[in-house]
């Protein structure tokens, strides 16, 4: 189908660009750090997209999953376990479990109550992390070293880490696409559009939403594993509700209609912050109005921009 091929062009282009970035003069240390951070937050935003864009449930507690993934790295680091093949699954598992347990309660609701419950669970996780004195409490925890992969120190290597992040982001993106197009995803999308209709043909939306929430939690846990390794430092601020809001904003800025929007939104917001930060120390004063304008005028988010431009040209 040409439509689906066209839809795949932009993501492929972006992933190719990210793959080529180290050889396009963007190989400097600070730039690589920024790109890795962008890809990791892209992965986190993608997992949130699964909940917001896929299932139609707005969560304001997603940073908790990210932070739990990061704290899984901390807990294992403290126990001197640094093998990524152990640490990453543990981070995924811990975050997915938290998502399933809190989701089991939160998904009894929808709309504003769902926002408030996810926010409350997120804050519980935040205060728990802040009270973990043996992991540094409020001050956070500095890792002894990055995780090893199959015994080798691949993650210490800038290029190695760059491509690991890229591979996981691209893989997660492909997974989201397949998931949403599957039977499971069809029920999920249908329940987002009209839960009553879905029940009338024999599906209870709850187990589908819960599983999607758990999968999203696992993906965010993976992002937390990467984030802990990127910064080699983990603090309760990873779980703060401001971070949840930031992730939500990335998803909305990018566009709810496609998982690519989340990736694009994360990279765009991060690069915008960085770019404005170089212009003026008061960059937040510029960022705010820009974001307001983006929400006002980009109806389909950044991913909807090409179609929107084509539309204006046709009408204008």
């Amino acid at each position: 189908m040409p439509a689906s091929r066209r839809a795949a062009t932009l993501p492929l282009l972006l992933f190719a660009l990210l793959a080529a970035a180290p050889f396009l003069g963007l190989g400097e240390g600070w730039m690589m750090t920024l790109l890795a951070r962008g890809m990791i937050l892209g992965l986190a935003a993608l997992s949130l997209w699964l909940v917001v864009g896929g299932a139609g449930l707005v969560s304001l507690g997603h940073a908790a999953m990210l932070g739990i993934g990061a704290y899984a790295v901390v807990a294992l680091d403290e126990a001197r376990i640094t093998e990524a093949l152990v640490v990453a699954p543990a981070a995924i598992g811990a975050a997915a479990l938290f998502a399933l347990l809190t989701g089991a309660v939160a998904l009894r609701t929808a709309g504003v109550p769902f926002i408030m419950i996810t926010l409350a669970f997120g804050q519980m996780a935040f205060f728990t992390a802040a009270s973990l004195a043996f992991y540094g409490g409020d001050d956070g925890y500095t890792l002894y070293a990055r995780s090893t992969l199959a015994g080798g120190r691949w993650l210490e290597n800038r290029l190695g880490f760059h491509y690991l992040c890229l591979a996981l982001l691209a893989g997660a993106f492909l997974f989201c696409h397949l998931l949403l197009a599957s039977r499971f995803g069809r029920v999920l999308r249908a329940a987002r559009e009209n839960p009553l209709r879905v029940q009338a043909v024999g599906f209870s939306p709850y187990p589908y939403r819960l599983l999607a929430y758990g999968i999203a939690g696992g993906m965010a846990g993976l992002a937390g594993f990467l984030l802990a390794n990127a910064t080699e430092f983990v603090a309760p601020s990873f779980l703060a509700w401001q971070r949840s809001g930031e992730l939500l904003f990335m998803v909305i800025l990018g566009g709810l209609g496609s998982p690519f929007g989340a990736v694009l939104g994360a990279l765009a917001l991060l690069l915008l912050e960085e770019g404005l930060g170089h212009l003026t120390p008061h960059w937040r004063l510029l960022l705010g109005p820009l974001l307001v304008l983006a929400v006002l005028f980009l109806r389909g988010g950044l991913v909807g921009l090409p179609a929107q431009l084509a539309g204006t040209r046709r009408h204008g």
């Binding site: 197009a181 599957s182 559009e193 009209n194 009553l196 024999g202 599983l211």
Partner: protein, 251 residues
């Protein structure tokens, strides 16, 4: 006597001091079209909710396909073969007509906890969905998003979704609501075509349609069944005329 598909046994529902459903008992036999009529506020919608499982009665039982389903929610009853259409059209606006119906097929064919294979490429789902669309005269509109269909076409789509469930009972809540005369005519012809193949419980305001379609008519007034019988008998019943059909029908 044949075992009825649906049996309501002394259903009672009260909202505060108001009894909206009062000791309603009726049965729908296999292949029978059973219409429930009644003036506005008679409790038809509340009755439908109790049959489909969106409201729980205060007393009485709903027996469906030989099973007591009084405590089962909408989704469970749907899986047992109870397909309902809605008074206010309820489809998935962002889905194509085909995908709307394919979801219903998916509901009765295997697990939907399948994660990686594109559902849109499953020939079995699409073929069954196309068959239901063809049956309701929508085959040519399969690829159109439901939001872009006309009102009448969306009513046809509701019917296609219900048929795709291969139901034991069709529960049709005012299938003609909001349609123009031509659309109504097309839908009545469509329902005529289903006669004998499905048990249908029909709630409808359009009296011409009711008397053209129904094998049995039950009259609901203030939550209570006033009369139940063949269309001709109901039409001739003086109590029904006074309570409901009014002067124009009596004339």
């Amino acid at each position: 006597m044949v075992e009825p598909v649906l049996r309501l046994d002394g259903l009672r529902k009260r909202f505060g001091g108001l009894t909206v459903t009062d000791a309603v008992s009726l049965a729908v036999a296999p292949g029978e079209i059973h219409a429930v009529i009644g003036p506005n506020g008679a409790g038809k919608t509340t009755l439908i909710h109790q049959v489909s499982g969106t409201l729980r009665p205060d007393a009485g039982r709903v027996l469906f396909a030989g099973q007591d389903v009084t405590g089962l929610p909408l989704a469970r009853r749907a899986r047992l073969g109870l397909a309902r259409s809605f008074q206010i059209t309820s489809v998935l606006p962002g889905f194509s007509a085909l995908e709307n119906v394919a979801l219903a097929v998916q509901g009765r064919s295997g697990s939907s906890f399948r994660f990686l294979r594109p559902a849109a490429a499953e020939a079995m789902l699409n073929e069954a969905a196309m068959a239901a669309l063809a049956q309701t005269g929508l085959a040519g509109r399969a690829a159109v998003p439901a939001a872009a269909l006309s009102h009448g076409e969306r009513r046809q789509l509701e019917l296609a979704i219900a048929l795709a469930m291969q139901p034991r009972l069709l529960l049709l809540d005012e299938p003609l609501a909001g349609t123009g005369p031509e659309e109504a005519e097309r839908l009545v012809a469509l329902l005529q075509g289903l006669r004998g193949r499905y048990a249908i419980l029909l709630v409808e305001h359009d009296m011409a349609a009711v008397f053209a379609l129904a094998d049995r008519v039950s009259v609901l007034v203030q939550g209570r069944l006033l009369a139940s019988g063949a269309p001709a008998a109901i039409r001739a019943d003086p109590a029904v005329r006074v309570a409901y059909l009014g002067e124009d029908e009596a004339a």
